[in-house]
Symmetry: C2
């Protein structure tokens, strides 16, 4: 596999856009990424799109990627939609990386898009087996159990949970593309409506529409377009093993994905300058920064409390605002993380810039989280 | 890209299986392919699954691939669902080919599965824009217009259309896995219920459940497992260009896919011993064998009439029975075609064996067929 770089990224503002179709959201992001790369749509040779719910609000099925690209002027080339639940976007990025890395193509577009507005209440409650969803084992239920286990086992506090939301929402106020760029206090988090004890509304990511895209190419081709290529140091995808169900506060799938990513990149977590981590709930960031090796097992709660993971701290986590504040349009999330990594590594992140950022990590996990199955991705990019 | 071979294939019987879940169908196919390869589930290093409708009959969304593999004992590895409408299975095969060909993995499983039973009437009517579907521009409507154009432009007859159904259903009687293995006459085809003039029920493929799988690996690794590797000579994916909408009887997307596949394989259509072609309707086989270069434009109707494309003819098309008789469980179709190619090329196709078969082609197209968009794949395998 030859070296692969990201040379253009784009992203819609995340939010609720009932007036826009999923195709329009995808096109806005694709256009921005192509322009950012200094390219024309005709330069794109292969496309992968991460998307879970297609155009289900209209009943349409199949080939949403081609419909998006038709409006951008990309046509004729290989186009594939990939799905791995909440890791769909990062899976699309990985396929695009493989297609360029193996030499079959020089320039690829990785996109992700989701239109959750219009799908009725709790559109993602059906991730997981239906019967478990009916029984309450939907994502909030699973994560509430994880939170309770984490609190019982490691002494994690309700205040520590809330401080993750406080931190990420503060970061998000510095991101003009975030869905809910508004600071909150620990009291506001705890006093917001209870979803599933101990998780409140503000412990949870919102239901969001949005799109994101990245243009990636070979190191050689990049020289024609940019002086700021961002290198793909690792992009890893894993599925679950169902082996550590005795402690649902731990995700062994993420530990394995991170381990391989560090090996491939030739670095350790101590070398990271910042990370975007799949904080679908406050407890998710706590568990996952442990799984990713940012701290020891059980210490995740203290990281937000002590400011380690805040902008200006030792290892800022979710400078973009994360899923909690920026929003979580499923298929778009993994690619939006890549966009944030690139903006940070190019020094273009504005008020939320991590000073001197050289290496960043993006993490997504999705799927049937109750069984530790599904998919987990870890992407490491460097200047 | 190094040489890649298929060393094991599997397929459920195609039919209506209301008592089986989509996961069970997928598992039956995966198990057979792994056993056929002489492998253990632990040997599989990466999986791609083609699937369109997930488990929509139960309301479940996401990660159906991981759920299938959980029951087979495949876990921990990269797993990705891909979707390209009716070309989803062949797209999965192509991604698996790329993953092995580029050297990242030695052994991959490409699967395809679909459970259409339980999705209500006409589950595929929503392929295409919703408004066009409501207006009758669903697949039967589009193909009926194509048939009328082909009849007006080239003199294709209703009898020629019917003879495609007669041929493929006769082939299917020789295939114990076919959905409707029953011979029909031209009169029966014409007298079956009219779907959309001139296409009758027997001009159309049925609504079918089923799964298929293929184990592919590097040429080197194959030596440990088989003396009958089947080589992937080409696997091509294209999307539409919207350029030839003046004649909807022609699919330029398929012409381009075939052209590149022949170039990559270093052969022409005259070198093929047989082919599996996406005959979702009788007119589809006629149009597509023209697009694939098996005959000149406008001559497709005569090929079935003159027996050229029948078993025993110069270029047998759909010896398996094709979509018309074997059935069309969307995501499974492209991988089932690969299975048929392998059985034929290994001389294991029983009563439907194409004698001395050395090279076979499989073709799928899917998506928003009204705009010549969507996806088209051409796979060429050789002994």
């Amino acid at each position: 596999m030859r070296n692969v770089v990201v040379i253009g990224v784009g992203m819609t503002k995340f939010g609720k856009f009932p007036e826009m179709t999923v195709e329009q959201l995808g096109r806005v992001a694709a256009w921005e990424a192509i322009k950012d790369a200094g390219m024309s749509p005709k330069d794109i040779q292969v496309v992968y799109l991460g998307n879970l719910t297609e155009r289900r609000e209209t009943g349409h099925i199949s080939c949403v990627a081609q419909e998006i690209l038709r409006g951008v002027g990309i046509r004729g080339i290989p186009v594939t939609r990939v799905e791995n639940a909440c890791a769909s976007g990062s899976t699309a990025f990985r396929e695009a990386w493989m297609a360029v890395g193996c030499g079959l193509y020089d320039i690829a577009l990785a996109g992700g898009v989701e239109k959750l507005t219009g799908m009725g209440p709790a559109p993602l409650a059906r991730i997981g087996d239906t019967i478990e969803g009916i029984a309450g084992f939907s994502p909030p239920g699973v994560w509430a159990m994880r939170a309770q286990r984490h609190m019982a086992q490691y002494g994690t506090t309700l205040e520590q949970l809330a401080k993750v939301a406080v931190k990420n929402r503060k970061h998000g106020t510095l991101n003009p593309r975030a869905h809910y760029p508004k600071e909150v206090t620990v009291e506001e988090v705890r006093n917001s409506p209870m979803i599933c004890y101990p998780l409140t509304l503000l412990d949870s990511c919102p239901t969001t529409d949005g799109g994101a895209a990245a243009v990636i190419c070979s190191e050689e081709v990049a020289k024609r377009y940019t002086t700021k290529p961002i290198y793909v140091a690792a992009t890893v995808l894993k599925s679950g093993t169902y082996e550590n169900l005795r402690n649902i506060a731990v995700n062994e799938i993420e530990q394995r994905a991170a381990k391989e990513a560090y090996e491939r990149a030739g670095i350790g977590p101590e070398d990271l300058d910042f990370a975007e981590v799949h904080d679908c709930f406050t407890i998710a960031e706590i568990v996952r920064i442990e799984n990713l090796g940012f701290c020891n097992e059980g210490e995740g709660g203290r990281m937000a409390e002590e400011g380690v993971t805040a902008l200006g701290g030792k290892l800022p986590v979710n400078p973009s605002g994360g899923l909690l504040c920026k929003g979580h349009p499923v298929g778009a999330t993994g690619v939006a993380q890549v966009a944030e990594l690139c903006w940070q590594l190019r020094g273009e992140a504005g008020a939320r810039q991590v000073q001197g950022a050289q290496v960043g990590l993006a993490h997504c996990s999705g799927g049937f989280i109750g069984h530790d199955t599904g998919a987990s991705t870890v992407i490491i990019l460097r200047r």
